[in-house]
């Protein structure tokens, strides 16, 4: 032991260990092995298998935990299913009381949970104590509120059912809270699988649920590995899957759930930019970097892992950063003076080590501070790479470790371009003392969360989630609640009859003197275009006589249409008011040609005159409806922290695909295409395959209504064939599909490529009903970007 006299020379911090007796005792009590929590009881694994859980700080085994089998998952889903009717009918206020009780109990056990989390995961006690656990309580509080407000704030929506939730190891208890709190608030029941490396705090929370008397089966835990997760994902009686984890596994889950009717939300990886302009508070930005990439050992999906610094200050900034890195303390997670703890698992440490070696090999300059690493356990030093090229591996791959890849930029344009040069789009951090510049970048960066002069700020009142391959769906806030709710009214089960479009000539419906032939073409980039295939198919009337031909669109037509749509960015940049004017003009011109459009419907479908006229009138009304919305579907300012404006802005996806239903050939098309463009998207639409001529007639209306070229592109042909190509197209950010069950599966599976968001329905809707318009369409036509703007002078 050092004497006071000696310490007066060194002025070291000395050890400051957090006590762990209570956790050690708890682990000892469970020494024979932790069990699943199913139906309100701790149950041994049905096949008796256990696996080891380690303390990353020393590699020791701290617990044995049940390995969930398919039978265990069956039992948990059955328990959740059995609990669902009563729980979903429990009043919102009563559910709120349970959530409130959980929040309170988490607070009463805060130190126990913090210590346990740090032992299990390796994160510093400072973080688990000051960040993770307080946020856990905050999420349960916040969602207790939503439970109480559910009936009034989300009318027309109800719980989805049994939710399968699979969470990662980086924030074990916090990710549980992010998933369980909204699910229970909305009236769902849950089967949760914690990560195999870090299952212990979830099991401790199960004890808390027991303690507060949460009804049996409402919340169930099955521990295990990827196979256990797969059993949940593939379980037929699960209604929703919520997953946080790697993009790779997210993609597998998207494929596995395709066509099953399961609702899905994915919060996946990232390679988030941290942008420092030359007018930023550089010292504060350095601290920002510390919180961005050395928080939780960099094992954070929204870690600011790509540092972009403006050229003029780059060297100065790197100097400051390196000096700061020298003061980072790596070591025992339970020491209160430790900044960087242990990497969660040996394989993760190996992965980080390998990627860092690769970064060195690829020529980037590597800096690590001089302090030695702890002698045991799985640790990795904070690492800075400079001179990193955008093409290098460490600039592209998510390392999920304390490794920062830095590069420079010259102008704001270049900063935005570099920031967006990624398959991911989870978050971004922008540092500048010029608010115009900050908000400009915030608007231009494709990411779900933007922090201005800050980083890794979280609150239950704000939505969190990504753009692009960082996933879809949000957690937190109003936008997060939506993910656990579903419309109470369901579609009829009737799927459209399968029809093969034939390129062969068909007998005409016309008799006598021939009418002047009208050729329906594809409509791409504002121009009428012949199908690439050179084939057309006959469009038949109700008596199977040909009333005309439509192009048989193929992959290349889709490619051309998507390219045209992608270029029409001017539309997205317009104000809502400007778009509204175009839509009103569109309504005006359709209205002027109402008779012609009604006649076309009668000819195609054999509809009664009155019904045809009603569909045209409803189409005009629907355009007016969305013209009205165009400048009104605006965002919110979330109440997060004091002296913060947290803007939740709905943004257009960009390029969207819409596959239109068979019923209501005109109104179905209008009901989907118009809200999409009203929100500023550009669209490639495939009209009702059997009755495409209303849509092809409509391009003439588009041409006369000042709709810019490329905003609406129409490709006729086989719906599912075209939908598959659209779903697999990486330039499309969101695909809507209204058709048959098989098509839904095709689209959902195809979307896994770039993890585009999808909205798929099969079965028939009543398009004349007012339920076929309104906010839910606008919500699906946008994604929410949360922009955090702290202020103060």
């Amino acid at each position: 032991m050092s004497t006071v006299k000696e310490i007066l020379q060194t002025m070291d911090y000395g050890p400051a260990p957090e006590a762990k007796d209570a956790v050690t005792a708890w682990l000892a009590k469970h020494q024979p092995g932790f069990r699943h929590y199913i139906g309100g009881a701790f149950q041994a694994p049905r096949d008796g298998k256990l696996f080891d859980v380690h303390n990353p700080a020393d590699g020791s085994v701290i617990a044995k935990v049940a390995q969930g089998s398919a039978a265990d998952v069956d039992a948990a889903v059955a328990a959740a299913r059995a609990a669902f009717p009563a729980w979903s009918k429990t009043s919102g206020e009563t559910r709120a009381r349970y959530l409130y009780a959980i929040a309170r109990h988490v607070q009463k056990r805060e130190r126990f949970l913090s210590v346990l989390e740090s032992i299990d995961n390796g994160k510093p006690i400072r973080e688990s104590r000051d960040i993770d656990v307080p946020l856990v309580a905050r999420h349960f509080y916040h969602h207790a509120g939503w439970a109480a407000l559910l009936d009034t704030e989300f009318s027309g929506l109800g719980p989805v059912g049994v939710c399968g939730q699979i969470i990662p190891w980086n924030f074990p208890l916090l990710m549980l809270a992010w998933k369980v709190a909204p699910a229970l608030a909305a009236g769902n029941t849950v089967v949760l699988k914690p990560a195999e490396y870090t299952p212990l705090t979830a099991l401790a929370l199960a004890e808390i649920c027991d303690e507060v008397g949460l009804p049996k089966g409402v919340f169930n835990i099955v521990t295990g590995d990827g196979e256990t997760g797969a059993a949940i994902v593939n379980h037929a009686d699960v209604d929703k899957i919520a997953f946080t984890g790697s993009t790779e596994v997210g993609r597998e889950i998207r494929k596995a759930t395709a066509g099953t009717g399961k609702k899905l939300s994915l919060e996946l990886g990232g390679k988030s930019p941290f942008i420092v302009f030359d007018d930023a508070d550089l010292d504060s930005a350095v601290e920002g970097v510390v919180d961005a990439i050395w928080f939780n050992q960099g094992q954070v999906c929204c870690a600011g892992s790509r540092l972009l610094v403006q050229e003029g200050v780059a060297e100065r900034f790197y100097d400051k950063l390196k000096r700061r890195m020298e003061t980072l303390r790596v070591g025992d997670p339970l020491d209160k003076s430790i900044d960087i703890g242990a990497i969660v698992a040996k394989v993760q440490l190996e992965r980080i080590t390998k990627l860092v070696e690769q970064g060195r090999r690829e020529g980037a300059a590597c800096f690590q501070p001089s302090a030695p690493m702890p002698g045991k356990g799985w640790f990795f030093p904070p690492t800075l790479f400079t001179d990193v090229a955008p093409a290098s591996t460490i600039a592209q791959v998510e390392i999920f470790g304390p490794v920062l890849a830095a590069m420079t930029f010259r102008t704001p344009d270049e900063a935005a371009a570099l920031a967006n040069n990624s398959a991911y789009g989870l978050s971004a951090s922008v540092w500048s003392e010029n608010i115009d510049r900050c908000l400009d970048l915030a608007a231009r960066i494709k990411a779900g969360v933007i922090w201005i002069n800050g980083t890794n700020m979280f609150d239950a009142a704000a939505g969190f989630g990504g753009y692009r391959e960082s996933g879809f769906g949000r957690e937190g806030g109003r936008e997060g609640m939506i993910e656990y709710l579903t419309p109470l009214k369901k579609n009829s089960a009737k799927d459209p009859a399968k029809a093969k479009l034939s390129a062969e000539p068909t007998a005409s419906a016309f008799e006598g003197k021939p009418t002047l032939d009208r050729t329906a073409k594809l409509f791409i980039g504002g121009k009428q275009a012949r199908p690439d295939s050179g084939y057309s198919y006959s469009v038949l009337d109700a008596k199977d006589h040909a009333i005309g031909q439509a192009g048989l669109g193929n992959r290349k037509d889709i490619r051309n249409a998507v390219e045209a749509a992608s270029k029409a960015t001017g539309w997205t940049a317009l104000s809502g008011h400007a778009r509204a004017q175009v839509l009103y003009f569109l309504a005006e011109n359709l209205s002027a040609r109402a008779d012609e459009f009604a006649a076309r419907l009668i000819a195609m479908t054999g509809a009664a005159k009155k019904a045809a006229r009603a569909e045209v009138d409803a189409s005009v009304s629907r355009i007016i409806h969305y013209a009205a919305w165009a400048d009104k579907y605006d965002g919110r300012v979330h109440y997060t922290k004091a002296r913060h404006v947290t803007l939740a802005m709905p943004e257009a996806w960009g390029t969207m695909a819409v596959s239109c239903p068979d019923e209501a050939p005109l109104l179905g098309f209008i009901s989907l295409v118009i809200p999409v463009i009203a929100m500023g998207n550009r669209v490639v639409a495939t009209p009702a395959p059997l009755h495409p001529l209303s849509a092809t007639d409509f391009y003439q209306v588009l041409e006369t209504s000042d709709v810019p070229d490329g905003v609406v592109n129409i490709v006729t042909g086989e719906r599912d064939l075209l939908a598959k190509t659209l779903a697999e197209h990486d330039e499309i950010a969101c695909a809507w599909y209204f058709g048959g069950a098989e098509g839904v599966a095709l689209v959902e599976r195809g979307s896994a490529g770039n993890l585009k968001a999808t909205w798929c329905e099969h079965g028939a809707r009543d398009w004349l009903s007012t339920e076929a318009q309104g906010e839910s369409f606008l919500r699906h036509a946008t994604q929410i970007k949360n922009i955090w703007v702290p202020y103060g002078e």
Partner: protein
């Protein structure tokens, strides 16, 4: 810009009691004053988490608190100060810690004493008398403390008198109007004149940050004062509405770091006013060690301006030694 190659810069050797070459000041450099920016929310975020990022316990805590005592400018700046009161304060300055505690800490052969005694100019003489042979310097406030709104020639004369009476350190106040009016060259010239008037005495520039309001102003005033030759920059007179805070201190120590980077001169930092508890002292020590390094824990680069802080530190040290919670009346008052 590289101020280190400024031809006007003269490097003096370190003086007795000071381990670093004295700041000679440099020519006014507008870019260095106005270039850097400060973001309030980000600064507050750093200072909110900083005390939670480091924890100093047991014998380490005792040592850190002893070090804090050695950095205290034990202060009396009241209208009712008398020579006798100042003598009492000086006695406490020489033996800030009860002898049995010093013994228990194993420090009897080199008992801790405070960094300086800080008084009004007319109290310099009695303080010097009382401290003769102790090695503890007397610091005098000057330049029309606390408002500083006296004619400049009188303020300079006040400095010269205090130095003549034996003050080794002069705590000057700046003209806040120069800051609020963004007249940085006026501020520079004024402080440079004061530094000249100090002669061998060290100049501590009190920025009165509570009056400056924005952290940007705090940074700019800090940088200007250092360029003009300040040996220390100090937060407050103790008389403003808001005195030393961690955010203000963080901005000042960052300015010290920038000045060091550019010139090689190590400037001292003195928070004053508002530090009342041992925990406060340690928070500031952690700030110094993290932001500037180990050297800034020593009294030649770090001082704490305080009057009541010492009492709480004594109680904490007694608790470390005895394991029992202590009462103030068991420690000698100043």
């Amino acid at each position: 810009m590289n101020l280190a190659t400024d031809p006007k810069r003269k490097v003096a050797a370190a003086e007795p009691g000071h381990n670093h070459p004295r700041n000679s000041g440099i020519a006014f450099n507008e870019e260095a004053v106005l270039g850097p920016t400060v973001n309030l929310s980000a600064v507050e975020r750093r200072t909110a988490s900083l005390p939670a990022r480091r924890s100093v316990k047991k014998e380490y805590q005792a040592a850190w608190l002893v070090k804090a005592i050695q950095c205290i400018d034990l202060t009396t700046l009241a209208g009712d100060d008398t020579p006798a009161r100042v003598h009492r304060l000086c006695a406490k300055a020489k033996s800030p810690l009860r002898a049995d505690l010093v013994e228990a800490l194993g420090l009897a052969d080199d008992a801790p004493k405070v960094g300086a005694v800080c008084v009004y100019p007319t109290m310099v003489k009695p303080a010097v008398e009382a401290l003769t042979g102790s090695g503890i310097p007397v610091a005098s406030v000057a330049t029309g403390f606390p408002a500083g709104l006296m004619p400049l020639d009188l303020r300079l004369e006040e400095i010269r008198r205090a130095v003549a009476d034996g003050a080794g350190e002069i705590d000057i106040v700046i003209t806040r109007a120069h800051v609020l009016g963004q007249d940085w060259t006026a501020l520079y010239d004024e402080i440079a004149a004061m530094r000249a008037a100090c002669g061998p005495a060290h100049l501590k520039a009190i920025l009165a940050t509570g009056d400056l309001k924005t952290l940007r102003n705090v940074y700019r005033a800090s940088m200007t004062a250092m360029m003009a030759g300040a040996d220390f920059i100090k937060t407050s007179t103790g008389k403003e509405d808001v005195n030393a805070t961690l955010p203000v201190s963080l901005v000042m120590v960052r300015a010290i770091r920038d000045y060091l980077q550019e010139t090689g001169f190590k400037i001292g930092f003195k928070p004053a006013g508002g530090l009342r508890t041992a925990k406060d002292a340690m928070n500031w020590q952690i700030l110094m060690k993290e932001e500037l390094g180990r050297e800034w824990l020593e009294p030649d680069l770090f001082r704490i301006g305080a009057s009541s802080l010492l009492g709480d530190i004594e109680r904490q040290i007694e608790h470390f030694v005895t394991g029992r919670y202590a009462a103030l009346n068991r420690h000698a008052m100043a």
